[in-house]
């Protein structure tokens, strides 16, 4: 346990620690008189919980320039992605438009619902990302046709940090009368995003990647452009029957506080993360066979994906025992399957095997980045010696 406590945490893309203010907010809700069911508005306890939920809804909406009525609570971004893709496709199924477009660089919580709608009769087009992990807008334009119902793409890639040109994609979709869903799990609260300016119809949100609680998220549904979608859960009237289930008031309040803090600290966070990323790259640039994945001009600085051709990431990570990092997506890090994202970006099997994702956060100290660089170098040197210093 001591070893865990002393580890330097550089896995912020996987999840973040709770901000102290978030904890206080959640404690206040749990310890106070907001424990009532937010749907039980016939008494004071319920009314108080309801008020907390609606205030939180306003806070979430304000970060993305949405109307609060357009925010539907979910258990996280995975559920929001499922609800957006399955819900829209199933509601519109009887129409003429039966094509869904996404990309191979998406998180599995987008790709698998897309595969599901394919089974339900839709045509699915998965675009290959550029070598930097982002989607080419011209390629997307070529894939859109009169049958296209939905384009679902992420804002920030969770494995390499590449940023999609959401505004251009949103304009393209609106021009072609196509719904646009954004998986904003990695970008929300870290990069500004305006759903009106970017013509976004649906957007998946979470809290735990910006110092909020796990188990809570939301789906932005543009009521004006989308109208209705079909729920994927049934059995209650909450959230206008779009997502039934008793709302978790304390988690919702925690998410709202995390969003408020993110809004205030976004610019400072970006500067700090850029400093961490540049320091790491600079300190490691002389390591032979090392390559940085993604395009430095178009990347979220909090994520740094590096490949060491010929070595195995699991051993690199094991060798740097005092640093907590991931092989790639946290959802895949306990299996031996190669990353579908890196594969789609054109990396060789050997480069994929040797890919480690460092992700920095608000609490990352510069000295921790320097220390992690040294440990990374030591680990790579050790593994190179084990393999006989082969080129």
């Amino acid at each position: 346990m001591k070893e865990i406590i002393n580890q330097i945490y550089l896995d912020y893309a996987s999840t973040t620690p709770l901000d102290r203010e978030v904890v206080s907010e959640m404690e206040a809700v749990m310890n106070g008189q907001s424990f009532g069911n937010p749907s039980s508005v016939d008494h004071l306890f319920g009314k108080q919980a309801h008020e907390a939920v609606e205030n939180a809804r306003l806070e979430i909406a304000s970060l993305i320039n949405a109307d609060s009525d357009d925010i539907v609570w979910t258990s996280g971004a995975t559920e929001a992605n499922n609800l957006a893709i399955l819900g829209l496709a199933r509601f519109k199924k009887n129409g003429f438009k039966l094509q869904v477009i996404s990309s191979f660089a998406e998180h599995k919580s987008v790709i698998e619902p897309c595969l599901q709608v394919k089974k339900e009769g839709f045509e699915l087009t998965l675009l290959n990302p550029n070598t930097d992990g982002s989607v080419d807008v011209n390629e997307l334009e070529s894939a859109i046709n009169e049958r296209t119902l939905l384009v679902s793409l992420m804002h920030v890639n969770n494995e390499v940090g590449s940023i999609n040109d959401i505004k251009s994609i949103g304009n393209l979709c609106r021009k072609n009368n196509v719904f646009f869903h954004v998986d904003a799990a990695q970008g929300i609260g870290k990069l500004p995003i305006d759903v009106k300016d970017c013509n976004i119809d649906l957007m998946s949100l979470n809290a735990h990647k910006i110092y909020g609680p796990k188990g809570i998220g939301a789906l932005f549904i543009n009521n004006e452009s989308v109208g209705r979608i079909k729920p994927i859960l049934i059995g209650g009237g909450q959230e206008r029957s779009l997502r039934p289930g008793t709302l978790a008031t304390h988690q919702i309040a925690g998410m709202a506080r995390a969003y408020k803090i993110a809004k205030e600290k976004m610019l400072n966070d970006q500067r700090h993360l850029t400093q961490c990323r540049e320091l790491f790259i600079d300190a490691c640039k002389d390591i032979s066979r090392l390559s940085v994945n993604g395009n430095s001009e178009n990347v979220f600085p909090g994520i740094l994906s590096v490949s060491m051709d010929g070595l195995h990431a699991e051993s690199i990570i094991y060798g740097m025992k005092m640093v907590a990092v991931s092989k790639g997506s946290a959802c895949n890090s306990d299996d031996d399957e190669p990353s579908h994202v890196l594969k789609a970006m054109g990396l060789s099997q050997s480069e994929i095997n040797g890919t480690v994702r460092f992700s920095f956060g608000r609490d990352t100290e510069i000295k921790d980045v320097e220390y992690a660089c040294n440990l990374y170098r030591d680990s790579v040197d050790h593994l190179n010696r084990l393999r006989g210093n082969k080129k």
Binding site: G310, L311, H312, E314, S315, Y318, G319, K321, D335, D336, Q349, S350, N353, H382, L383, R385, L386, R387, G388, K390
Partner: protein, 122 residues
């Protein structure tokens, strides 16, 4: 392999094969690779049917690295006809290999058999 033992052998560099120093010293080499790009090279020096020295190179996951180092350390001094007996070497007694990494043992075994094949063919 317990966590401590895995780390101990993962970190060891005592019997690494070094091309410059060892290229004329070791008679037999056996290699094995798998589809995940992991690879082992084993080198045995044999006199009177006994392994008097052994070295290795390895690239792969921590379990593969640890069992390779453990094997090499423990095979030195063994008779040739014992060196494929992993129970005698002690790996199975000392090591708890997670189920999804059991195939690493097969990789090691393949390298050992390939090395023994080299010796047999001489």
């Amino acid at each position: 392999m317990t966590e401590n033992l895995t780390r101990f052998y993962f970190e060891k560099e005592d019997h690494l094969f070094n091309l410059e120093d060892d290229k004329y010293s070791y008679l037999a080499k056996g290699s094995a690779t798998n589809s995940q790009g992991m690879e082992i090279d084993l080198y045995f020096k044999v006199e009177e049917s006994r392994i008097i020295d052994a070295k290795y190179n390895v690239s792969g996951c921590p379990v593969l690295i640890a069992i390779s180092a453990f094997y090499i350390e423990n095979v030195i001094g063994k008779k040739l006809n014992h060196c494929h007996d992993f129970n005698a070497i002690g790996i199975y007694e000392s090591i708890e290999i997670p189920n999804h990494k059991k195939d690493r043992m097969i990789l090691l075994e393949d390298a050992v058999y390939n090395c023994l094949g080299q010796i047999g063919s001489r």
